[in-house]
Structure formats: structure tokens, C-alpha cells
Symmetry: C2
Subunit: 297 residues, 2 copies
């Protein structure tokens, strides 16, 4: 879920609540708030906890939320994870500590295990976050296996944003008990056919209903066509800088230019690129027009 920012770059909770509610109305089962797309790592712990509380107070059920809580610092990961659990979140999406590169599986295992042990709460449900293009710290099959074996009631899922379906397929084969979510709807149907749990995807911010349709109809004749349609939308959007592009679409639909803002090091989409994006999307029949049509997207 994208994070809107006010003029002073503080997180804007009210439009975020509205956007979360719209996503749920459009068919999202859950919301991975504070992931890569949500610019979570561009916010501090206090900001993240405050925004999570605002979402819940704003009426978004904690049982639908899977906040990102994996930080570089062990103590920060513990703090955010405990906070999420105590606020009743369904689960947490956990990055490995991502500053040190080339670290060993033993070190990564110790990181995850230490967070789980320190939080020490039977309600904790961890979804591992494998996203080497951003973290530069991949989670190996062996590491996942050790965590699943040692914490079977806690480590129950994984988001695979590696972009290589062979890895997703290996995870699904080796760990049938694990809820594996491809990090892109491009792999949604293929994932479901291999036993995947759905997908957790950035473009869900703008195309949730049609992505949902693939999940609802994946065993039916039209499944491949539905998949092709969402893949095409994804391909257009990802030919632009992803997060600013998604924000530009939400801004246009909601007629709210505040949504364009990103925190550094990201840069908002220039107007010329916005127009290009909108017309590229119109060309494949994907509307980015104002509010009325957003609900029917």
C-alpha cells in the first residue's frame, strides 16, 4: 500500500485510510502496509507505528493488516514487530537486515530467530520478505527451511519479490505448508496453479479488482485471459518508475495532487511522464480517469 505524504513530507494518515478502505472494497483480502511500495524504509519507527495506529483507529481492521517490520537494527525490528502484534495485526512482512551484504545464512537465521524469540508472543505470524532487487540480501531455500522447521507456528509465509518464478516454484514445492505470495501479479495465475497463496503486489494499488478476478476465476476457462489483462497493465506501469507512477495514478483518480509526493531518495513523476503513463494505459483500455471511474476499475 502506497503512503501519501503531506507537504512537509510527514505521512498523511487520512488519505491512507481512505485508500486502504478502497482497496479492501475492491477485493483485497489483506493489506501489506509498510513494504517497499509504501516507502516504509524512508520512514522512522515512530512514524510507522503512528501511521499503523491511525489506520486502525481510522477503521481498517488490524486483522487485515500485514505491516512490514524488518529493519536493519535488531532492536527496531523487535520494536515494530511487537507493536504490530500488540495491535492485533494479522501478520508481519519481515525483511532481513539489509545493510550488510554477503552475510551468511547463520547470521540471517540469528536475526529472524532473535526477533521471534524477543517478541515471544504466540500471536506472531511472520511472512518472510525475499526481495533481492532492493534488499540485496536474498533468503535462500535453506534458510527458509530452517526457519519454517524451527518456528512452524510463526513463520507461515513468504513474499517472493525476486522476479524469478523458478524460485517461487521451488519454495512451493519444498514447503507446501508455507503461504507463498509472488511479489507481482504477473506470476499470480502460475503461482495459484503451483499452490501459491495469491500475490502481494505494488500494482494492486491501482488495479485491485481485476487482480482479484484472477483469484476468483483461476480454475475457470477465462483465467488466462484475465491474467493476460493484468499482466499487460503491470508491464506498462513498470516501464515507469514504479512507486511514483502508482502515486500519479492514485492522484489523478482522486483528483488529489498531494498523492504525487514521495520521500527522497525517490522522485515524483514529472508531468510529461505522467501524461505518457496515462495515455499508455488508456491505449490498453485501462482508465485512470477521475474518482467516479476509479470505483469501477
Amino acid at each position: 500500500v502506497l503512503t501519501p505524504f503531506s507537504q512537509d513530507l510527514t505521512p498523511a494518515s487520512e488519505p491512507k485510510v481512505g485508500h486502504c478502505q478502497w482497496l479492501l472494497d475492491q477485493g483485497a483480502d489483506g493489506l501489506a502496509v509498510f513494504g517497499t511500495t509504501g516507502e516504509a524504509n524512508s520512514m522512522g519507527c515512530g512514524e510507522r507505528m503512528g501511521l499503523l495506529e491511525a489506520l486502525i483507529e481510522g477503521g481498517i481492521s488490524a486483522g487485515r493488516l500485514m505491516p512490514g517490520t524488518g529493519m536493519c537494527a535488531l532492536t527496531d525490528s523487535v520494536r515494530l514487530t511487537r507493536h504490530a502484534v500488540e495491535n492485533g495485526c494479522a501478520g508481519v512482512l519481515m525483511l532481513p537486515p539489509f545493510y550488510y551484504k554477503g552475510v551468511s545464512d547463520d547470521g540471517l537465521y540469528a536475526s529472524f530467530a532473535e526477533v521471534i524469540e524477543r517478541v515471544g508472543d504466540a500471536r506472531l505470524r511472520v511472512y518472510l520478505y525475499h526481495i533481492p532487487p532492493m534488499s540485496s540480501v536474498p533468503l535462500s531455500l535453506d534458510l527458509v527451511g530452517r526457519l519454517v522447521r524451527d518456528y512452524p507456528a510463526v513463520v507461515i509465509g513468504l513474499k517472493d519479490s525476486g522476479g524469478d518464478f523458478r524460485n517461487t516454484a521451488s519454495l512451493l514445492k519444498e514447503f507446501p505448508e508455507l503461504e507463498v505470495f509472488p511479489g507481482s501479479e504477473s506470476f499470480l495465475l502460475e503461482g495459484l496453479r503451483h499452490g501459491g497463496a495469491g500475490c502481494i503486489t505494488a500494482t494492486g494499488n491501482v488495479n485491485p479488482a481485476r487482480i482479484r478476478a484472477v483469484i476468483d476465476h483461476w480454475q475457470e476457462a477465462e483465467a488466462d485471459d484475465l491474467q493476460e489483462e493484468i499482466t499487460r497493465v503491470r508491464e506498462v506501469i513498470q516501464s515507469y518508475p514504479m512507486i511514483p507512477a502508482l502515486k500519479a495514478i492514485v492522484a489523478r483518480r482522486g483528483r488529489d495532487s498531494d498523492w504525487l509526493r514521495v520521500r527522497p531518495p525517490l522522485v515524483a513523476l514529472e508531468e510529461a511522464h505522467q501524461s505518457g503513463l496515462f495515455s499508455d494505459l488508456e491505449a490498453i483500455g485501462f482508465s485512470t480517469a477521475g474518482k467516479g471511474s476509479a470505483a469501477a476499475a
Copy 2:
């Protein structure tokens, strides 16, 4: 500067104060606390600020300190930088936000500029931290140039831990006013001959006096021999995992096994590797024996 941890993995300020004092006594001009070697990114903001205050209260002059303050989150970087300035630190060593990869120079410029503007303190002195092997976010010559030009009184230096002396040489040539520190003593003499400011180096934790000797004698006949000697020590140490290896040497010299501890995702050096490291170093005449000899290293 390495960071010692207590049994519960909290930063141990007392041994850190002692180690800082020893480094200054051995000839270090300043101390880059909370850099990569200090496992700073494995600590939260609160822990870092607490430890910095403890160092100053423990008698380490703030005028000798250059804490790392560059975080992924803009607000965290502002908070740490302001804290360092308000505590009288000589400067800060600033990483770019390092979660998002492939970001533009415009985005990185905005990150640094926003921190500088928000801190808004004439006392602020920023040393940029170029360390692509860890951050995966390099600082281009063009970006450095823009920052130096727009904030000439603030952005006064750079630590180049890229491991490629050609980049260091380009920086020295293009920005003669900038204090450029190679991030390894292997490039110390070459750097000084190109106008470099010295070096900021992990192995300074265990070999400060001999590294200092190169700075004191770089224009004399023995300079190359002195350089060769410190390079040889560096090469042995970096054939082991660097941070755990340095901690093992400090632990052995101080007869304090608490120093062996690292925070995940790092892993302490196994005993067999410790013995290997010590004997490899003895073989080139570098003593890692107990306390008495450390002072004479």
C-alpha cells in the same frame, strides 16, 4: 570504531570509551564512530544517540568524533545529525538512504539537501560516505559536485570505501577543496600523494600507530616501506570476515571475550578461525598478544 555488545546485545559503552581513548592515544586524529565497522546500522537511533552521549560523558572529546548519521529514513537522518551537531561533534559521516536501489542523483541530492536544510545549523560539517559494496548506492562525481557547490561550508569531505583508487583520485582532482579519505589504509600513501586527507579505516581499530606513522612520514624515504607493512596486515585481516576478525583481535589483546560479540546478521569468528587469524598475523610479525603489548603495537 568497533562497538562492543553486552550479553543481551545492548551496546556496551564502557569498553567502547576505553577503546576510543586507546585509539586517540595511539595517534588517531578523529574517530568515525557508528560507521560500517561499528555495526551502526544494526543499532536503532535511540541506541546510537545514547552511546554517543556515553562516549562524550566518558571523556572522549566531541571535537574528535564523526558519528555516522545517514539512515534510510529522512527523519532518522535529521534526528541523528541534529543530535550530533548539538553535542558538538566535529562532523558527521553520511550514508545515502540505502534501501532503494538504482535511484537517481536527483533523489540522492534531495535526500542530502533536505537533511542539511532541516538541521539548519551553521556548525554542521558533512562527510559523504561512498561505500557501494555495502550500501549498493554509489555517490557519483556529479552528485558530489552538486552538493559541494551548493553547500560549500557544510559538505567538506568524503570517505571513499569503494575500493577503487581511480575514483578516489578523480575526487581529489575534481574537488581539491574536499577532504577525501580512502576507506582503507591500503590507499593511504597513494592518497596522500594525490592530496588526500588521511584515511578512515576499519583496521585502524587494531593497527592505529603504524597507520599513523605513514601519515607522519609520508614525505620521507621510509614511506613506502611503512605503507607496505600496514598493507600486509590489512590483507591478512581482510581474508577473514572483517568486523568479527577485528573484534577477535581486540578481545585477545584486552583479554575480554565480551568483545567477540557481534549483532546479527554478523556472526562472531569461530575459535578455529580466531587461531588461524592470530597465527597468520604472527607470521608477518604483527602481535595480537595481551594488553601490555597492545599499547606498544
